[in-house]
C-alpha cells in the first residue's frame, strides 16, 4: 500500500495546470480530492510520475448562479456543496446525492469535479448530472469547450475528455417546480451503490410534463434512461406506467457481479430504486 515515486506539482492558475499536464503528457494526472486516484496509486494500479494538484487554483472553487443555471467549480468539495444554501434551494438533488457519497471525512476532501470527471461508474454524481442535463466546462491545451454530461461517459474510466483536458466547472440548469429524488441502495455507509436512481420530473395537474432518469453503478458507465423517462411523460405515474418505465430502465442496465450481488439482483435493484425515486419525486413536485 505504498505508491511509487512521483513528482508533486501545485499550480496556482488554470493555465499553469494545463501547461504542466501538457508537458508531462500521459505520465501526469490531475489531482482533485484524490479519493479515487490515491487508493489506486497505493495499490500500484496507477503510477503517474507527476501529480498536478488543482487545490490552489481559486477559479476552480466558484459556486454561483448565472442565467443558464448554477455554475459549480470542479474543486468544490462535497462538504462545501452540502453547506451551500444556494444549492439547497436551486438544485436539491445534488444535496441529496452528496449526502450519500462515502462518509464525512471523504466528503470533506472529495470534489464534485473529481466525482464526475474520472469516469468511475460507482460515483454518484455522474448519473445525477445526466438526470439534470448538466454541462461540463472543459479546458485543455487547445482551449475551452463544453460537453453535455449525457454525452460524456464512454466506458469505465473512459470519458469524452481529450488528452490534457480537465473539467473546470459544472453548469446545472435550474428548473422551477421540479420534483427530484435520489434513491441509493448500499451495503453500508461509505459504499458505492448496489444500484441507485436519480429522478427529476415536473407535473401539471398531476400529469407528468417532463421526466429525466439517471442510474448509478449498474453498467460500465452511468446511464441516462431516456426511453424509460419518455414512457412516463403524459402519465400520472400510475402503477402500470411505472412498471413499464422500470422495465425499460432495467433493460438498459448491464451490471457487474461483485460483492454487492449478482447481475440479476443489481438490475432488479435499479428498477426498485427507480420506482421509489419516482414516488418521492412525485410527492415533491409542485
Amino acid at each position: 500500500m505504498i505508491p511509487g515515486a512521483f513528482e508533486y506539482l501545485r499550480p496556482k492558475t488554470l493555465s499553469d495546470a494545463i501547461a504542466m499536464l501538457a508537458t508531462h503528457g500521459d505520465e501526469a494526472r490531475p489531482l482533485a480530492g484524490g479519493h479515487s486516484l490515491i487508493p489506486m496509486m497505493k495499490q500500484r494500479l496507477a503510477s503517474p510520475s507527476h501529480l498536478v494538484d488543482l487545490a490552489a487554483i481559486a477559479d476552480l472553487a466558484v459556486l454561483r448562479e448565472e442565467p443558464d443555471g448554477l455554475v459549480i467549480g470542479a474543486m468544490v468539495t462535497q462538504r462545501a456543496l452540502l453547506g451551500s444554501a444556494l444549492v439547497q434551494v436551486k438544485a436539491p438533488l445534488l444535496i441529496e446525492a452528496a449526502q450519500q457519497i462515502a462518509d464525512p471525512q471523504i466528503r470533506a476532501l472529495g470534489t464534485l469535479g473529481g466525482n464526475v470527471a474520472n469516469g468511475d461508474p460507482g460515483n454518484d454524481m455522474p448519473a445525477v448530472m445526466m438526470c439534470l442535463d448538466a454541462t461540463y466546462m472543459v479546458q485543455g491545451p487547445k482551449g475551452a469547450r463544453q460537453i453535455k454530461a449525457r454525452e460524456f461517459y464512454r466506458g469505465a474510466y473512459d470519458t469524452a475528455l481529450a488528452a490534457g483536458e480537465i473539467v473546470t466547472a459544472i453548469q446545472v440548469p435550474v428548473v422551477a417546480g421540479q420534483g427530484v429524488a435520489y434513491e441509493k441502495l448500499k451495503r453500508k455507509v461509505g459504499d458505492y451503490a448496489v444500484a441507485a436512481a436519480a429522478v427529476a420530473l415536473t407535473l401539471r395537474s398531476g400529469e407528468v410534463t417532463s421526466c429525466a432518469i439517471g442510474l448509478t453503478n449498474v453498467a460500465p458507465t452511468p446511464l441516462w434512461a431516456k426511453d424509460a423517462a419518455a414512457l412516463l411523460v403524459g402519465t400520472r405515474l400510475e402503477a402500470d406506467a411505472v412498471k413499464k418505465a422500470v422495465a425499460a430502465a432495467e433493460a438498459i442496465t448491464d451490471p457487474a457481479a461483485d460483492g454487492r450481488g449478482p447481475a440479476d439482483y443489481r438490475r432488479k435493484m435499479a428498477g426498485i430504486m427507480l420506482a421509489r425515486a419516482l414516488a418521492r419525486a412525485q410527492q415533491r413536485a409542485a
Binding site: M1, I2, G4, A5, R44, D103, L185, R187, K188, V189, G190, D191, Y192, V194, D258, G259, R260, G261, P262, Y265, R266, K268, M269, I272
Partner: protein, 806 residues
C-alpha cells in the same frame, strides 16, 4: 472512631473492587493517542520488510528472480525460501501439528502466499523492490470447494506429504485429508436415530470469515550480534508461547529471547499464531544485523493471516413427536486451507466442537469432523470464541429451530423443554464435557419477559397475514438463541499447546507504601485487563484498584502464561490473580495479628483492613501492614510482601446466555433491519459490569457483521475476493443495531471468584440469533434453512426462490 474516619461505604467506593463499574484506566492513553503499538516503535538503523506474494492460488514456481529488486536503491536484501533453507527455516511447524512454508518452496498453495521478503531502508524502497521480484509460475488446477477436495481425482495439494498416511491426529484417508476426529457413541446414536419419531437433517454452513482486528499483524525484530540476543516486539496474544516457539525453531536459547507485546489493537484470534512475516523479520535481522520491522497492510491481513470458520456441518437431530430430543449426529467438513495452521490446543484438531450438544440434555450424540486441504489461506482461528465453539453453537441453535419448525412447536418452548435442568449440574454431556453450573430456564424466561416474547409472536402472526394479503412487503423474524460456551482452556488433563500445559499466572508485589504492581501471563488486546485485574486484587487484599499497576506482555518480567484467547483470561489468569492475592492476604493476616497482639483466627478481613473480631476499632489497614512487611516484620518472618501463583484450572467454565433478535426484512430489496436485540448473559461473578457491557456490545457487533455479510470469498480460480474494507463487511455505528443487555449470575463452583469469562459469548450467541431471526422470517413461506451470510442480495435470492419478490 472520629468524624474523619471514612464510612464502610466510602472505603468500599475507594477500593473500586469487583462489581464496580470502574472506568478503563488504559483508555486515558488510548483516547489521547498515546498508546504504544508495534508500529510506533522505531529503532536506530531500522529496516523495513515487505512481502512479495503469489498471484496464483496453485502453481509450481519455476524460478524466482530477485536480481532487479536487489538493484533498487535502498534495498538491502531479498530473502527467499533458498535463503531460509540455509538456516533450516523454509518451513515451520504449526500449532496443529502440521508444517507450513514460510516462503514458497517450489510451489504456491494459495493466492497471496508469501514468496519473498524484501528488506530495505524505507517502506518505499521495500515496496519498489517487491514490484520487481519476478516469479515464473506454472499454473496448477485449483480446489476452493472443500466438498471437492477428497474426490478421487482431486489434484494433490501437499506434495510434501506424499506417502504420509498418518497425520498429527491419526490416519489420513486421502491426499487432501488432514484428519478425522470422532467423539461420542456412534452405535447408540445410530440406534436413537433408527427409533426416532421425528428427525431433521440439514447441511448448515458457517462461511469463511476473518477476525480483522483494526491493527494488523506486525512485528519488529532486533538481533544483537554481540550479546547473541533477540528482542521481538509483536502483536502477540500469547507472547510467552511465541518466545518458546521462536526458541524451538531458531535454536536460540530461550533466555536470550525477549518477546514483548506492547499495546495491541485487537486480536480476536488473529494474533495467536506465528506467521511468515515474523520468521522473515527475525531471519532478516540476524542476516543484516539491523532491526527489521514488518507490518501487514489490510489486504494482506484479510487474505493471508488466519481466517476463521469455514465449517460445513451436516446436522441431524432425533426427537420424539412431543419434542424431546433423543439424539444428535453431526458430520463436519472442515476447510483448513493450504496448511493446518488452526490455533487450537494441540490435541484438539476440531477445537471444542464437541460442545455441540449445547444447552440440551441429549442422551446420546456422535460427532465426526474431517479436515481437508484446499487452495485457500491457512488458519482456522477462534474468532472471538473458544475453539470452534461458535461453529458448534451455530449448528445446534439452527438445528433446534429447524426441529421446532418441523414439530410445529415454538422454538423457545422446544428449548425450555430440553434444557439441562439446574439440578443436573455438574452435568456430564454425551460428548464428554462436565458442565460446571447453569440455570438455563431462568435465563430464557427472563429474556422472553424482557422482550414480551408472546406479544412479538402475536404481532408476527398479524404481519404474516397482512403480507399474504399483499398489504406489506416486509416480513418479520424472531430469532431465539440459547448458547452454552466452553471457555477457560484449560485444565492440564484436557489441554496443552505444543506440550505446554494451559495454566496461567500472576505475580503481585506490594510496595512498602501500600501500592502494588501485578504482572500477569495474559495479554490484553482491548479487554481492559489493566482495569479488571486490579479490581480482583483490590477486592482480595484491600488495596485500592487505583493503587495497583497491572503489567502484561513483556516475557522478561511477566510470569509464564499462555496468553489471551478463547475467553481464558478470567477463568484461568483471573483465578491465578485471586490465588496470588490470597497468598499475600494470608501473610498480611499474620503481620496484622502480630501487630494487634491477637491470634490470626481472631481477625476478620473487612474491605481494606484486618480487624479484631467484635472490636472493629482495633484494626490494621493493608497500608499499615505493607509498611511493616518492609520495615520491621514479625520476628522470624521473611521481609517483603509478594506472591506468585500458577493456576491449573480443575475444569473449564461454561458461560451461557439467552439472546432474542427481532428483524424486519424488505423482500423487494433483501435488506434486513434489526428492530430489537436483547442479550442476556450469565458469565458467573461479574468483575466490571461496564466492561462486560462493552464486551457484549463489541461481540454482538461482530456477530451482526458475520451473520449479515462478513465473508472471505474466493472465485473458482482461487482469487480472494473483496479483501478490503470496501467489500469486507465491517459495520459502522450507522448499520449496527441498538443493543439491550441483561444478566443473571450463576457463579462457577470451581473458580476462586466464581467468574466464567464473557468476551466471546456475544459472538457465539449472536450469530445464531441473527440467523434464526432471518430464517424465522422466511419460515412461513416454506423455507427451512437459508445459508449465511445473510446479506441483502442473498436474502433477495431466497425471497425470489420462494416466489415472493415483486
Amino acid at each position: 472512631m472520629n468524624d474523619m474516619t471514612p464510612t464502610r461505604e466510602a472505603r468500599e467506593a475507594r477500593l473500586e473492587g469487583m462489581g464496580c463499574k470502574r472506568k478503563r484506566v488504559e483508555d486515558v492513553r488510548f483516547t489521547q493517542g498515546r498508546g504504544t503499538y508495534v508500529d510506533d516503535i522505531k529503532l536506530p538503523a531500522m529496516l523495513y520488510g515487505d512481502m512479495v506474494r503469489s498471484s496464483y492460488a496453485h502453481a509450481r514456481i519455476r524460478k524466482i528472480d530477485t536480481s532487479k529488486a536487489e538493484k533498487v536503491p535502498g534495498v538491502v536484501a531479498v530473502i527467499t525460501a533458498e535463503t531460509l533453507k540455509t538456516v533450516n527455516l523454509a518451513w515451520m511447524p504449526t500449532l496443529a501439528g502440521d508444517v507450513q512454508m514460510v516462503l514458497a518452496d517450489g510451489k504456491v498453495l494459495f493466492q497471496n502466499q508469501e514468496i519473498a521478503f524484501v528488506v530495505a531502508t524505507s517502506l518505499q524502497a521495500a515496496a519498489d523492490g517487491v514490484e520487481l521480484v519476478e516469479a515464473d509460475y506454472e499454473e496448477l488446477p485449483v480446489i476452493v470447494d472443500p466438498f471437492k477436495a477428497m474426490a478421487a481425482d482431486a489434484p494433490v495439494l501437499r506434495e510434501d506429504l506424499a506417502g504420509k498416511t498418518e497425520g498429527a491426529h491419526g490416519k489420513r484417508d486421502h491426499h487432501n485429508h488432514i484428519f478425522k476426529w470422532q467423539v461420542g457413541d456412534k452405535s447408540l446414536t445410530d440406534e436413537a436415530f433408527n427409533r426416532a419419531e421425528v428427525k431433521i437433517d440439514e447441511l448448515l454452513s458457517y462461511h469463511r470469515t476473518h477476525p480483522s482486528p483494526l491493527e494488523t499483524c506486525q512485528c519488529l525484530a532486533s538481533f544483537d550480534k554481540i550479546k547473541g540476543e533477540l528482542t521481538l516486539w509483536g502483536t502477540f496474544q500469547a507472547p510467552h508461547v511465541i518466545r518458546t516457539v521462536v526458541s524451538l525453531i531458531s535454536k536460540l536459547p530461550e533466555h536470550k529471547i525477549h518477546v514483548i507485546a506492547p499495546d495491541v489493537g485487537g486480536g480476536f484470534g488473529n494474533k495467536v499464531g506465528a506467521y511468515a512475516g515474523y520468521v522473515c523479520a527475525v531471519v532478516a535481522s540476524i542476516v543484516t544485523g539491523r532491526p527489521v520491522k514488518w507490518v501487514e497492510d489490510r489486504m494482506e491481513n484479510l487474505s493471508t493471516t488466519s481466517f476463521a470458520r469455514d465449517y460445513h456441518m451436516r446436522t441431524e437431530i432425533a426427537a420424539t413427536r412431543d419434542g424431546k430430543v433423543t439424539g444428535l449426529r453431526v458430520h463436519i467438513l472442515a476447510d483448513h486451507g493450504a496448511f493446518d495452521a488452526c490455533a487450537d490446543p494441540s490435541k484438539w484438531p476440531a477445537g471444542f466442537s464437541n460442545i455441540i450438544t449445547g444447552s440440551y440434555d441429549f442422551p446420546v450424540a456422535h460427532l465426526c469432523v474431517d479436515g481437508v486441504y484446499t487452495n485457500k489461506a491457512p488458519g482456522g482461528v477462534a474468532y472471538r470464541c473458544s475453539f470452534r465453539v461458535t461453529e458448534a453453537a451455530y449448528a445446534i441453535e439452527r438445528g433446534m429451530d429447524i426441529l421446532a419448525q418441523k414439530l410445529g412447536m415454538d422454538p423457545a418452548e422446544l428449548r425450555l423443554k430440553n434444557f439441562i435442568r439446574r439440578e443436573q449440574f455438574p452435568y456430564q454431556s454425551a460428548l464428554g464435557w462436565e458442565y460446571d453450573s447453569g440455570d438455563y430456564a431462568t435465563a430464557l424466561n427472563k429474556a422472553m419477559a424482557a422482550v414480551d416474547y408472546a406479544g412479538l409472536r402475536a404481532e408476527q402472526k398479524t404481519r404474516r397475514e397482512a403480507f399474504k394479503r399483499g398489504e406489506t412487503r416486509s416480513i418479520m423474524g424472531i430469532g431465539v438463541c440459547f448458547f452454552t460456551e466452553i471457555v477457560g482452556a484449560g485444565p492440564s488433563k484436557n489441554c496443552d499447546i505444543l506440550g505446554l500445559a494451559m495454566f496461567d499466572s500472576c505475580e503481585i508485589r506490594i510496595h512498602p507504601t501500600g501500592s502494588a504492581i501485578a504482572r500477569v501471563g495474559t495479554k490484553s488486546t482491548g479487554q481492559g485487563h489493566e482495569t479488571t485485574w486490579a479490581q480482583i486484587i483490590a477486592s482480595e487484599i484491600g488495596i485500592a484498584a487505583s493503587d495497583i499497576m497491572v503489567e502484561e506482555g513483556n516475557t522478561d518480567t511477566a510470569p509464564y502464561g499462555l496468553g489471551t484467547y478463547g475467553s481464558r483470561s478470567t477463568p484461568v489468569a483471573g483465578a491465578a490473580i485471586a490465588m496470588a492475592a490470597r497468598k499475600i492476604r494470608a501473610k498480611a493476616q499474620m503481620i496484622a495479628a502480630w501487630l494487634l497482639e491477637v491470634h490470626e483466627d481472631d481477625l476478620t478481613f473487612d474491605i481494606d483492613r484486618f480487624q479484631v473480631k467484635g472490636v472493629p476499632e482495633r484494626f490494621k489497614t493493608m497500608t499499615d501492614i505493607a509498611w511493616v512487611a518492609y520495615h520491621a516484620p514479625p520476628p522470624g518472618m521473611e521481609p517483603g510482601l509478594e506472591a506468585v501463583s500458577y493456576y491449573d484450572p480443575p475444569n473449564m467454565t461454561y458461560p451461557f446466555g439467552a439472546y432474542i433478535c427481532v428483524m424486519d426484512i424488505d423482500v423487494d430489496t433483501g435488506v434486513a433491519k434489526t428492530r430489537r436485540f436483547y442479550a442476556l448473559d450469565d458469565c458467573g461473578t461479574r468483575i466490571n459490569p461496564m466492561i462486560i457491557e462493552g464486551q457484549v456490545h463489541g461481540g454482538l457487533t461482530e456477530a451482526f457483521a458475520i451473520s449479515m455479510g462478513q465473508e472471505i470469498r474466493y472465485d473458482d480460480m482461487g482469487n480472494v475476493m473483496g479483501a478490503s474494507f470496501m467489500d469486507f463487511f465491517l459495520p459502522t455505528a450507522v448499520e449496527t443495531p441498538h443493543w439491550e443487555t441483561g444478566h443473571t449470575v450463576t457463579p462457577s463452583p470451581h473458580h476462586p471468584i466464581g467468574a466464567k469469562g464473557v468476551g466471546e459469548s456475544p459472538n457465539v450467541g449472536g450469530v445464531p440469533a441473527f440467523s434464526n431471526a432471518v430464517n424465522d422470517a422466511f419460515s412461513f413461506l416454506g423455507s427451512t434453512h437459508i445459508q449465511m451470510p445473510h446479506d441483502a442480495w442473498r436474502l433477495w435470492k431466497a425471497a425470489e426462490k420462494l416466489g415472493v419478490t415483486g
